[in-house]
């Protein structure tokens, strides 16, 4: 069953940015786009989330924060970088305290382009990310199955 596709729960974290993408993410979560149709819920808690939406560039202040949030998400999980800053650091890339895009802190599975990214493309990105999430889940189950089989053989 492809349950992960039917129920992706989001966590949204805004690193340092101009807040444009941040606001667009929130716009995508408004009743107008009604993401709950796809089972998407904005959880606000890494321990409940499957998809991490990162906006903005990673700097000294938030490097540890985003790593910590990512570590507190249970497997399987995917990370979506939203907007140009999350891709490369954007216009902040050259700042003295900026490490770069989201990939500077956590493994990113998918990028959504735009400055700022439009709600429609964010939704599109999440739906694509969910497919990766499902693949990861299947792989995880496969690993678990092999592990049990191996354990049985060993016994």
């Amino acid at each position: 069953m492809s349950l992960f596709k039917k129920s992706p729960w989001l966590l949204h974290y805004n690193c340092s940015s101009c807040n444009g993408c941040d606001i667009e993410v929130l716009a995508a979560l408004t009743p107008m786009y009604d993401l709950e149709r796809f089972g998407i819920i904005n959880t606000g808690n890494p321990k409940h989330a499957d998809v991490l939406l990162v906006t903005g560039s990673v700097n000294d202040q938030n490097l540890e924060v985003i790593r910590s949030l990512y570590a507190q998400m249970p497997d399987p999980k995917v990370v979506v970088g939203v907007g140009i800053c999350a891709l490369s650091g954007g216009i902040f890339a050259q700042c003295y305290n900026v490490h770069g895009g989201a990939a500077a802190a956590v493994p990113v599975d998918l990028y959504v382009p735009g400055c700022a990214a439009r709600p429609e493309s964010i939704i599109d990105g999440v739906i694509k990310a969910v497919e990766i999430l499902q693949q990861k889940a299947d792989a995880m189950r496969g690993r678990r199955r092999t592990a049990t089989a191996a354990a049985r053989e060993a016994a």
């Binding site: 974290y13 808690n45 890494p46 321990k47 540890e64 924060v65 985003i66 910590s68 949030l69 570590a71 507190q72 249970p74």
Partner: protein, 629 residues
């Protein structure tokens, strides 16, 4: 009869020996062995009573009465001596002593005191009390041996007066046996006063200003309650239609003849059981060493207060006085449960909860139907065991963490697993299904519904804060601390014996309570009413089922694999050091520190107590007045 006299007189032997023997180790052996003898004798007595049924004993009491009178005068003289130098606004305390003395002399030489034919008795109820005193009392005495040594190590400023301590404890035990076996009002009064004095001495043990203040507070209020007793005896001597001082005949006489003495004794009982308006003495008595709180102020002495209430319950059945008494109990239950929410001192929480539960017993006694008395006796048993366990558990914890603050008990279940488990058992025993207190609350709710809906409502409202303050305390104990901390210090064997027995008792009480109910509680109610409510068997099965679930769960949890990945707790992503701290503004690292809710401005202790005291004082006063009308 010999057995009863033995139980009353025997504790005086170790009391005397402890004063005389200079050698510490020998004293310890005396205390341990006499505690064992007392416990064994009370169990033997219980067996005899189970087989033989209640017995009343004839005794030629001339010399005994004279001795008691002499001792009463000595006690009064001792109290007056101790009262010297009291500030003027507390001179009412020696005044009360003088009033009582004069009244006693007047009664004694007035020549009107009815003769008591059978001053001693043992029925099922007094045997239940004797078991509580004999077993819990002796366990506490054993526990105190280790505790007092440690107490003085922790409080070097307090002069060591251990001999006086143990002397008073054993005299107190003797007096408690006296209370539960006396069928004569004047004997009952004598033993009653002895417990008051013992409590006074033990509360004031530390001789600090606070201890002195509290001890006089307790003395004054208990002497005030004693006036109620004198009223009862005086009424029988001068005003009664059929004068008698035999408690059983008095109760059998019914409300028409025995209402005035019953109300007077109920007044005394309210004071001794620290019900509102008297409750403050028990809360301030918590300065006493912990075994004293466990023995006097939770499982035995205050139980004597509700013991007489329940004893006289048949008289109160269906009367206005009974309703007033029940209201005092109910309001005390509600108010002190609310007050307990705002306390973070473990002993004060226990004190509040003791007063509250005694209020529940008082409420049942005031209603006075067989069903409520059934519930009341069960409450007395369960409460005595679980509360003693909690008090004795708090003792070593206090010495380990250096405080009585509940907040500092965080993570006890990992730092001192055995102590933590004991506290959890005790707390569960106080408020959670399927443990003891809840069984009795269940019975009380059913019984109250059949007699007075508003009283059942009081119980419903009072139970809710109980749940809150116990659960949050338990929450503190099970919180897993983020940093390793060690709560060191060995706990002596004496203490483990007491704690272990009581913990097993609390657990055992809910496994074996159907039998306990059938053997002790039901005969006890049948003796008073001629009939007894049975136990709803369906309910018992469910309770046992729940207990089974509680025992199976941890087992299952150990057996079944629960694959899990450790992660730090959610701290909005800014946690550091595995969630023990977080990085705030400007990179400053703050410790994560959680405190319980005490809602102290919402449930203001002073406001609640003030109103509780006013209302209950009016009700208790009305009870006495109505009984004369």
């Amino acid at each position: 009869m010999e057995l009863l006299l033995f139980l009353i007189l025997f504790p005086l032997l170790p009391a005397g020996l402890i004063v005389l023997i200079p050698h510490f180790t020998t004293r310890k052996i005396v205390a341990r062995s006499s505690a064992a003898i007392m416990a064994a004798t009370s169990i033997w007595l219980a067996w005899r009573c189970l087989v033989g049924g209640p017995e009343y004993f004839h005794l030629e009491a001339g010399t005994i009465d004279a001795t008691m009178f002499g001792l009463e005068i000595l006690i009064a003289a001792y109290l007056l001596y101790r009262c010297r130098g009291l500030p003027p606004r507390r001179l009412w305390i020696p005044a009360l002593v003088v009033v009582q003395l004069l009244a006693m002399v007047g009664l004694e030489f007035g020549g009107q005191l009815p003769h008591v034919d059978r001053p001693l008795y043992a029925d099922h109820f007094s045997v239940i009390m004797a078991l509580i005193i004999g077993i819990i009392g002796s366990l506490t005495a054993v526990y105190s041996i280790g505790y007092m040594t440690e107490y003085h190590n922790h409080h070097p400023e307090i002069p060591v007066r251990r001999r006086r301590f143990f002397f008073t404890v054993f005299v107190f035990l003797s007096a408690m046996f006296g209370i539960v076996f006396s069928n004569s009002l004047s004997w009952l009064f004598f033993f009653w006063e002895v417990t008051t004095v013992c409590s006074f001495v033990l509360i004031g043990y530390a001789r600090t200003e606070e201890a002195k203040f509290s001890s006089f507070h307790a003395l004054g209020l208990n002497l005030l309650g004693g006036i109620g007793f004198l009223m009862a005896i005086g009424f029988e001597a001068y005003f009664a239609g059929e004068p008698t001082l035999d408690v059983d005949r008095l109760i059998a006489a019914g409300p028409a003849l025995a209402m005035v003495p019953a109300a007077g004794i109920a007044f005394a009982g309210l004071a001794k059981a620290a019900q509102l308006p008297f409750s403050r003495w028990l809360l301030s008595a918590m300065v006493a060493p912990t075994p004293v709180s466990a023995l006097l102020h939770s499982s035995t002495m205050v139980k004597a207060g509700v013991f007489v209430l329940v004893k006289f319950a048949p008289v109160f059945r269906g009367t206005t006085e009974g309703l007033l008494l029940a209201l005092v109990g109910g309001i005390t239950f509600l108010v002190t449960s609310l007050v307990a929410v705002s306390q973070n001192n473990a002993k004060r929480v226990l004190g509040c909860s003791t007063v509250a539960n005694l209020g529940l017993v008082g409420m049942c006694a005031g209603v006075g139907t067989p069903e409520t008395v059934w519930a009341a006796v069960l409450l007395i048993i369960f409460h005595a065991v679980a509360k003693a366990l909690l008090f004795l558990g708090v003792g070593p914890i206090e010495h380990r963490i250096g405080s009585r603050n509940i907040e500092l008990m965080e993570g006890l279940i990992t730092t001192r697993p055995a102590l933590g488990a004991i506290m959890i058992i005790g707390i569960c025993g106080m408020f959670l299904a399927p443990f003891g207190m809840l069984i009795s609350k269940y019975a009380a709710l059913k019984a109250l519904m059949d007699s007075n809906v508003l009283l059942a409502g009081l119980l419903a409202f009072g139970s809710a804060p109980t749940l809150f303050f116990w659960a949050k305390w338990m929450g503190k104990i099970v919180s897993i601390p983020h940093r390793p901390s060690d709560v060191v210090g060995p706990i002596s064997l004496d203490k483990w014996v007491a704690l272990g027995t009581l913990a097993l008792g609390t657990l055992g009480a809910c496994v074996f309570f159907p039998w306990a109910a059938r053997w002790f509680v039901e005969p006890c109610v049948r003796h008073a009413y001629g009939a007894t409510p049975g136990l709803a068997t369906g309910g018992t099965a469910v309770m046992v089922g729940m207990l089974l679930v509680l025992f199976l769960l941890p087992l299952l949890y150990v057996v079944l694999p629960v694959p899990a990945v450790r992660a730090e707790g959610y701290l909005a992503g800014i946690g550091v050091e595995r969630g023990a701290a977080f990085r705030g503004a400007m990179g400053k690292v703050h410790e994560v520190d959680m405190r319980n809710y005490y809602l102290s401005s919402f449930f203001d202790e002073h406001v609640l107590m003030r109103w509780g005291i006013r209302v209950c004082a009016a009700l208790a006063f009305a009870m006495v007045v109505v009984s004369w009308i």
